[in-house]
Symmetry: C2
Subunit: 498 residues, 2 copies
Amino acid sequence: MSKKLDQLKEILGEVSDVNHAASVLGWDQQVNMPSAGGEARGQQLATLGKISHAKSTSDEVGKLLDDLKKEYEGSDSDDAALVRVAARDFDKATRVPGEFVAKQAVVTTSAFEAWVEARGKSDFSIFLPHLEKVMDLMREYVSFFPPSDHPYDALLDDYEPGMKTAEVQEIFSKVRTKQVKLIKAIAAAKQVKSDFLRKGYSEKKVWAFSETIISQFGYDFSRGRQDKAAHPFETSFSVNDVRITNRYEPENPLATLFSGMHEGGHAMYEQGISPAFDRTPLAHGVSSAVHESQSRMWENLVGRSQPFWEYFFPKLKKAFSAQLDGVSAKTFYKAINKVEPSLIRVNADEATYNLHIMLRLELEIGMLDGSVALKDLPEIWNAKMQEYVGITPPDDSKGVLQDIHWSAGLFGYFPTYALGNLVSAQLWEKINKDIPDLDEQIRAGKFDALLGWLREKVHVHGHKYDPQDLIKKVTGSRIDSAAYIRYLTGKYSDIYGL
Amino acid sequence: MSKKLDQLKEILGEVSDVNHAASVLGWDQQVNMPSAGGEARGQQLATLGKISHAKSTSDEVGKLLDDLKKEYEGSDSDDAALVRVAARDFDKATRVPGEFVAKQAVVTTSAFEAWVEARGKSDFSIFLPHLEKVMDLMREYVSFFPPSDHPYDALLDDYEPGMKTAEVQEIFSKVRTKQVKLIKAIAAAKQVKSDFLRKGYSEKKVWAFSETIISQFGYDFSRGRQDKAAHPFETSFSVNDVRITNRYEPENPLATLFSGMHEGGHAMYEQGISPAFDRTPLAHGVSSAVHESQSRMWENLVGRSQPFWEYFFPKLKKAFSAQLDGVSAKTFYKAINKVEPSLIRVNADEATYNLHIMLRLELEIGMLDGSVALKDLPEIWNAKMQEYVGITPPDDSKGVLQDIHWSAGLFGYFPTYALGNLVSAQLWEKINKDIPDLDEQIRAGKFDALLGWLREKVHVHGHKYDPQDLIKKVTGSRIDSAAYIRYLTGKYSDIYGL
């Protein structure tokens, strides 16, 4: 049997090589490529995608998997996990016909262009006919899979394997009530000062400070690099080449520090995966939510915490003495955690972020099952924003048209952002039990015990376990909102004296 | 028939995409990749190479070509050229068995490592057994092709299609006598002053000056970029994304200007190819020698000319007033053209460069036909260096071990460097007939007529014509040394008052 496993690994190794090559091309496109190179790059990526799909859905792979599944049934070895994950990927990929994939590429390319125009003109009617086509595709995609409790399950499963819509809805309904209440209490409290966060911090010095922080966290620059791009992201070409991008926005200069920690968190996950999994489907983070739990933990639970800034604020003040003159560590800590109901998801603070996600999930479910008419989206969006966050967008570009996701056919992705927040807090409670002096370590600028814990419990396993099994194994329960609510309430009660 | 042509273009388009993807990965490896990423990158490149080879040597391609060759015989259309070049590539690629390609990769990987060690220790005996294996491979490679007048023909043909060894030898024998004589005359003349070329020119300012020059030449930065790498090179991902690399050596700071012009020359060739050829085998420069004629023309015939520095020297002096205090444009011009017999090919001046190449060609031919015993290489190398250039290497690291080419199995490549010099002068004489005021244009910093001429006569055609046919079509004769000898003699007679 080991000969068949070797054959499978050989083919999957080549698929991994092709996919990683595509990732290099994608990274280059965002970081270096002269704009004129875009058309050819699109063709190159389409060809690599086609090759990867053909290789991973071949009859040869199907036959190997059929035999190997029987052989490895019931085993919990790495090889058994490889066979299980590969079989799952194969099943999903072979259900979707090549013609559908090609049609989807055409529809989403037009939809993206229409969305750019619609957002620019703040005119939803330009996007509407394209969104209708995208929804037809989504429904067709769902039809390739066995019936489930809810059609949205098939979409969600692509990002959060094994997670069901009903479970997410149940979790979110608990979170929503409590977060809405918390925001109202904060709105009624004395507001915090934050004007010093906007005062001309030089790009070069902010960038250097960002690299100091993530190096100290444990992001390994000898196996990665940070480059400038329009949007911060993390991408991996092997366990030994995991890169991040970042940006600098003059109107919000210190955001670079937090996006660096966020992408660094994703990257440390990928750098920590067992090298034995390289060139296999196990060499990736296990799900979008678990990935997001890592980025949000380093960004928020570490990077927006009081102990963290007790250590780093004196250094920041040294680098930016004029900007931070007269500001204390505590004032700075409060400022970077200021809660401000806002229209745009990507700028939202921790207290409101999940509400932006819940709104999107409710709409996506309604769009898919037909209970939300697409033409009514702007109106429903605005009503929900008022209900959850307490403000109404002045126009659709700051409302229903703000995100790229729907134009790209990325349905099912949004909820994992909020689930990642919940998981980060579940892990955090467990870590603080296992490392009781974690706060003091952070106050001393030491992160090795924290990273070591994450490596051992989460990172090294890559895609070996089902995500919920992994979370339960590590924290004792499946994804749950209690820890996150405790974290949020505790943090903001202190900051706002609730 | 057009359906078959479409099918062929579709497959060759995908092959081109995969090859360009590999080029992006290679560029990234030299420019950005953290060193730890090397092993995975090697596997990714091997997989892309395997896919490209399988796609381009499939039975389907063979059958399409058989039919299309008959259809397009005798035509000189672009499509006929595509079929002809594709058929030639197919014939070459299918003659070489996959096992040979795999064996070659193994042998040259070890040979490269041995060469690095041997050069470091200046110990030829470390490299000798590996070189023996490489030569066995080269002889085996030659055996896959029909018998020719000389076994070296098959190797040369990979870089200079259609060129024969006997023709190169005949050309070189004429050049050698004249260049050796010229060098002796220069050695006996009054030497030129050049110490001011070494005085601490800042990297940042040299780099900016280099980009000013090549922008003014016409290298289009909106379809390319210049990055730092260990070795200067040019690489192309499409006609709209043609990149160059450069370096800065503190001990020879202005070399950056000349390597920028050199790589810029290669890049302007690739940027000038007809966009209609993109994703076909016609979308490349036609041969190594013609490519080198472009790089050497911009570097030497333009960039080391008196009119060029009459325009640029005042600007350079403004940027580097301390370093160039009291230096005139004429003195600077003489200094950058100083002839100094030297041991290392890549540092050689125009007057001696070709002699380094001839030495290598004679040895390669002898190594292949057995008339040169590999163990005697160091001794023969040193004797020929004394005879041609007038100096003897103090050790093998500065002699027979200096070049990477043999360890990589790159036999047949060296002569194209010298042939490129000859072609550059042939083109230059013709250009000066067609643009009689070229010197004055250069003296005014205008290069658009020159680049326009090269685009129309050479660049736009890509790989459409056989290289010698193209050279003859443009200059009136096949590759010939007379123009180059006239150019060298004229230039150095002026500089050294011969």
